[in-house]
């Protein structure tokens, strides 16, 4: 069967190397130039829970994994119990006879192919530890879809070289044996053949990777975090790059320390960023408010996970939008972004640093576990598109006014900042309300002026912002409204819906706040039937739109089970409208 795209899931207990194998497989596809999107699921346990890694590989752009699986690799029995129903008619399940008898299995679904592979025996044969069964499965998959082993060989090398040549060889051999076993068993024919693409190799990145890369490019010099799923890999990435890129990365004692350290570094003149999830962001609220009062630029990445409280640490949700928009005591200007895919993560992180510095305000980037931790194959980012604009920052004494006023009451609300330590630049960054020099002041007129000054920035700021982007046919019957990571599943659903003649388009907000009322009103005027799609319970985008336009959309497709939408859910949601 020649296929344009194939869906594969590897499943097993935590500790079985599911995440590693899945990532390696995605990497193989990306290297070969295919479009790939993956989705990993795991509980907040180090061992014992059930892990899965689902990959959709395609010759054409894909935006989401799908519900139906072509191939399911079960490294334990539970995988079959849990996921058998998701395998497509005629699909394949690879399993180990040791875990499960084929008789037992066939009882429930006779429409699919069961391929027993002696994962365990193979690794026993080469005396490999049991985790290496994952490599056998990779070989088996590639055999099944008729892709030669050479690219996997490269990936194995890249992955295991740090652990030594022996480990590389062991893993390669395991893959090799898996490959051969299938090839022989199937008489050297493969049930699937992925069409060959001539694309260049693709980058395989998560949203977190993209934020990190955008941050480095934008000149982030100070990054602080306290680990919190699903934001932690941004910390790991910055930490690993700190020497080569001259970035101080600090895993601090708490999120309170994190935001205040970053504020100190930014005050001194270094571009600074922090990353966390909901709980950590809650703790950062007071600091956010301090950044606003002292007009210290700061970029805060908030990767959402299902909450309240500890919630579901390793799952996904879009529950923190209105919190981010209203977070922290007092009234102040901020920007809240919600990139929808890694490209947007990369370029908007660049934009975030510029906005933060030009307007001397906090910028919040909303991600979620789905975007933060799943991999997307995409074209190489273009660093040249991130240009650094540091606004009014002064790094040279000669540029300083004689009577330097850090909080000068300017027309556009933006005053000159100074790299600390310059002669002539002395001032107070004051969390108290303050006069133009920064001295504490409780004068009522000064208070009013300073509030106006800080809010006046919005006039210029909005010119640097972009309205939501419209995807799909301009005059659609149904217009979907969404934000952040739902973009992918909706675009994928639109493929199906528009194929079947339903004309659906998407208005996607990757920039939530400040809300650009006019352009949104215009889109609403031009649209027919509107439906809000969000990965939360209370329809926060719906509230945001109503709060700003007065308009209420009565149709909603909401999901709040801690899982991202599957395109099929959106298709049927829209069909049922």
């Amino acid at each position: 069967m020649r296929a344009e795209n194939i869906s594969i899931r590897i499943g097993g207990a935590a500790g079985y190397g599911i995440m590693a194998a899945g990532y390696m497989l995605s990497k193989v596809f990306a290297k070969k130039g295919y479009y790939v999107i993956d989705s990993n699921e795991y509980p907040s346990l180090i061992r014992g829970g059930h892990n899965t890694y689902t990959i959709r590989v395609s010759t054409n752009p894909v935006y989401s994994v799908s519900k139906n699986l072509d191939i399911l690799i079960a490294l334990d029995k539970q995988t079959i119990d849990l996921h058998r129903e998701e395998v497509s008619y005629g699909g394949h399940i690879l399993y180990d006879q040791q875990d499960f008898s084929s008789e037992e299995m066939k009882k429930s679904r006779k429409d699919i192919n069961y391929l027993a592979v002696p994962f365990t025996k193979i690794i026993e044969q080469i005396e490999a530890p049991s985790v290496v069964r994952n490599q056998v499965s990779l070989g088996a998959i590639l055999a099944l879809i008729d892709i030669s082993l050479d690219t996997l060989g490269t990936v194995v090398k890249e992955t295991f070289m740090p652990k030594g040549e022996n480990v590389v060889n062991l893993n390669s051999r395991a893959a090799d044996l898996g490959y051969k076993y299938i090839k022989e068993k199937l008489n050297h024919s493969s049930p699937y053949t992925l069409e060959i693409v001539k694309h260049k190799s693709k980058m395989l990145v998560t949203g977190n990777d993209a934020v990190f890369l955008g941050g480095v490019r934008a000149g982030c010099k100070f990054f602080a975090a306290y680990p919190m799923t699903p934001s932690s890999s941004i910390l790991h990435a910055f930490a690993s790059a700190e020497n080569e890129y001259n970035i101080v990365t600090k895993h601090a004692e708490s999120e309170l320390a994190v935001i205040n350290m970053a504020m100190g570094a930014s005050f001194a003149g270094a571009r600074s960023m922090v990353a966390t999830s909901g709980g950590g962001f809650s703790l950062m609220n007071e600091g956010l408010s301090a950044a606003a009062m002292t007009e210290t630029p700061i970029v805060v990445v908030l990767s959402q996970r299902p909450a309240p409280a500890t919630g579901l640490p390793t799952w996904t949700e879009q529950g923190d939008m209105l919190f981010a928009i209203h977070a922290a005591h007092g009234e102040f200007l901020r920007v809240v972004m919600a990139p929808g895919d890694p490209q947007e993560c990369f370029y908007m992180t660049g934009q975030a640093f510029n906005l933060a510095e030009k307007y001397q305000i906090p910028v919040i980037i909303l991600l979620d576990k789905y975007l933060s931790e799943n991999h997307f194959a995409c074209e190489k980012f273009d660093p040249a598109k991130i240009k650094v604009d540091r606004g009014t920052l002064i790094a040279d004494s000669s540029e300083l006014a004689d009577d330097y006023q850090r909080y000068e009451k300017t027309k556009d609300g933006v005053s000159a900042r100074v790299v600390s330590g310059l002669e002539g630049g002395i001032h107070i960054a004051n969390t108290d309300e303050h006069d133009p020099y920064g001295f504490s002041s409780d004068d009522p007129n000064n208070r009013k002026d300073m509030m106006d000054k800080r809010f006046n920035k919005i006039k210029k700021l909005v010119k640097d912002l972009h309205p939501p982007k419209i995807y799909g046919p301009p005059e659609a019957e149904i217009t979907c409204w969404s934000w952040g990571s739902c973009k992918g599943p909706i675009l994928e659903a639109m493929k199906t819906l528009n194929r079947e003649q339903k004309k659906v388009n998407l208005v996607h907000f990757n920039l939530l706040y400040p809300f650009l009322i006019e352009p949104v009103m215009k889109i609403i005027k031009d649209s027919n039937r509107n439906v809000i799609i969000e990965n939360n319970k209370t329809s926060q985008l719906g509230k945001l739109i109503m709060m700003n336009t007065g308009l209420k959309f009565n149709s909603r497709i909401l999901k709040y089970s801690g899982r991202q939408f599957l395109p099929g859910e959106i298709v049927s949601g829209i069909e049922q409208l």
Binding site: S201, K202, M203, L204, D209, L213, V216, R217, G219, K221, F222, A241, E242, N243, E244, Y245, N246, I247, V248, K250, A252, E253, S254, L256, A257, V258, N260, M261, A262, M263, G264, A265, S266, F267, A268, G269, A270, S272, A290, T294, K380, F381, P383, V388, A395, V419, S420, G421, L422, E423, G424, G425, I426, H427, I428, A429, N430, T431, F439, S440
Partner: protein, 292 residues
Amino acid sequence: MNKNNNLKPKDFNTHIKPTWCTGCGNYGIWNALKKAFVSLGLKNHQILGVYGIGCSGNGTNFLKTYAFHALHGRALPVATGAKLANHKLHVVAMAGDGDGAGIGGNHFMHTCRRNINLTYIMHDNRVYGLTTGQAAPTTDRGTRTKSTPSGVLESPVNPIAIALASGASFVARGFSGDTKHLSGLFSEAIRHRGFSFVDVLQPCVTFNKKNTYEWYRKRIDNLQEDQNYSKKDAAEAFKRSNQDEEEKIPIGIFYQEEKPLYEDGLKQIERKPLVDHVINDIDINKLLNNYF
């Protein structure tokens, strides 16, 4: 540090006259600090003062240096961030005992063990001054205050012991009633290569009727006047820090050691401070290639 500038203590005054109560111990700290800056030859713009919120924090308006008036309890992390971003700055964090041992206690512990080259002065008046007289974590057991009308039920925090237990490399105590000694202590603290902590016994004439100038004067005992005292013995320092206060209250340097700075481990600031790096067009191609 250039010893030959001609600054005088008053050159560190702003145009604002301190608003502390007459007789407040903060005056002594303020004066001692200005003197220390002068004796170290520091210029105003070379210094960053980071303040907490409290009576001492109001001092942000009176001392002419770069200043960050941080949130209550957060002077140390702000100071840490600023120092790492521009390690050429001389960073002095200053905050109350409520600020530093109460709400900000965790940063205190962790900044001690971090050994960044900055100085932290605790304005230890054993009371919450600015919020008008509640118990501080340093307030003695049994003391009746607005928030503890039946008397404090806890043992007081011992900032010196905490600093020692947390591995601070310079741990000292001064008395704001002895500006000369205190100013010397501040100079040594700032000169120390590493994190230096000075706990300053600071009478609050308005809300603390127990720990007065007189009360301290009677008890104060300079460690450095004891020939047998070695400031290199942490266990001995710990013991002295637990001394019965009714007898003696040691001041001076409890402990000092040379150990690697946090900054020593940061290759990225070896050549120049972070803030001096040009960020216009950073080449990330090598990084991007990791994702192929």
